[in-house]
Symmetry: C2
Subunit: 230 residues, 2 copies
Amino acid sequence: MPNETTASTENTSLTNQTYQRIYTMIIQGDLKPGVKLKIEELRKNLGTGASPVREALSLLTSDHLVDRIDQRGFRVSHISADGFTELLKTRCWLEERALRESMGAKDVHWEERLVLAHHRLKREHRMLEDKKTPNPVWESKHKEFHMTLLSVCGSSILIKICDQLYDQNIRYRNAAKTMAYPTRDVTAEHDTILEHVLNHNVDKAVEELISHYTKTGEFLSMHLKQLVFS
Amino acid sequence: MPNETTASTENTSLTNQTYQRIYTMIIQGDLKPGVKLKIEELRKNLGTGASPVREALSLLTSDHLVDRIDQRGFRVSHISADGFTELLKTRCWLEERALRESMGAKDVHWEERLVLAHHRLKREHRMLEDKKTPNPVWESKHKEFHMTLLSVCGSSILIKICDQLYDQNIRYRNAAKTMAYPTRDVTAEHDTILEHVLNHNVDKAVEELISHYTKTGEFLSMHLKQLVFS
DNA sequence: AAAACTTAAAATATCGATATTTTTATAATT
DNA sequence: AATTATAAAAATATCGATATTTTAAGTTTT
């Protein structure tokens, strides 16, 4: 989570806890897109006062997960097939640049971190034992790997943006309720990306990264278009 | 302002009014970087309760103008020479992409809007009669022109990001207290950019845009490095 | 003298109650 | 039947008071 301050839910302000809980609820799709976020309701469900709830919602605005309409309250921000296309496109643009810059920096320590992140990702299984629910640990290692790719681009601003957009993407994945990319061999794609990066083959690396995203994207897009958006 | 909802300060919630007022105060440098934003103090100065103030500050977090530290309140986010360099670099990366995409769209109506925006900018003087204070109308037309350049890039996400980064840049300009770019002929630079765009000369247009930003940037950087940051 | 407690003051975070505004439902008018 | 007006209900926004946490200052201990 972009605004993360502490690891667990201990010892932080109610506002923070509330922020985290609503954040997860939205990302995981427990709170459906477009749904009205009534203060009174949330307040009761989460067992706090109105102030922490309002403030948490205001903060969630930064992550583009919540829309605030003046004097008309908050709602879970909408998603749409078009919105997804735009998100994907934008991510490709930005991550391409970030990757190019990262690779331009040619940092040995970075390469090692990358190998490590890749190794850790590879060790995890995408799905849990039941073969139905996605493995949250894999999710986090996957993000870690991709963010490491961008980590030495030289702009913390850009990194933060990519982080946010990544999370928005997860939201779409969960919304499509499809256990993302079942057929393709995602692992092989990660291998290839890493290989190109370690070989300092910038164009190839970028090409592979983009194609990695685009493939998943097209697959998701298909599923999304079949859904009714509110 | 990215979060702008209504034109003037009428008829909007106190939270909104408070948001706008603090926004301007930070951008204009009335509230210095790093300064602690004490709720009680602001509350008194702005003549409202604590809730609107807190909520406004939470919202300002999105714009990266305010930092929130859990249980330790809010402060005006820091600026630094390095921060500026990073901001400038990031803006160049993102605006380059946006401009390329915009030009790729080859939209006649867009070209007309561009000509208009350019004309309106040209009509304004950069400084007020006193030749000392920057003309706010020029500022707004300048932003308008630059944002129009990016407006048909096909990603409202990217546009919004550039908008935010633009405003952060203004903050630096005001902080440097220097009547930005005094010697150079900025007007000519705008002319050249427009010309290249209308001629569908993508690379030249991008080159000129980047150089336009970089020149201003280097100038500002010099002034910034002489300032003491808190 | 530096580090570790202790305590008072300051500031943040939160609550519960109230004022405002928007929404919804119903009735009146063209 | 569609628009406009009206009133009640619901929800948002805001306030003032209070609980909690952090900061600062002074005091003791090593």
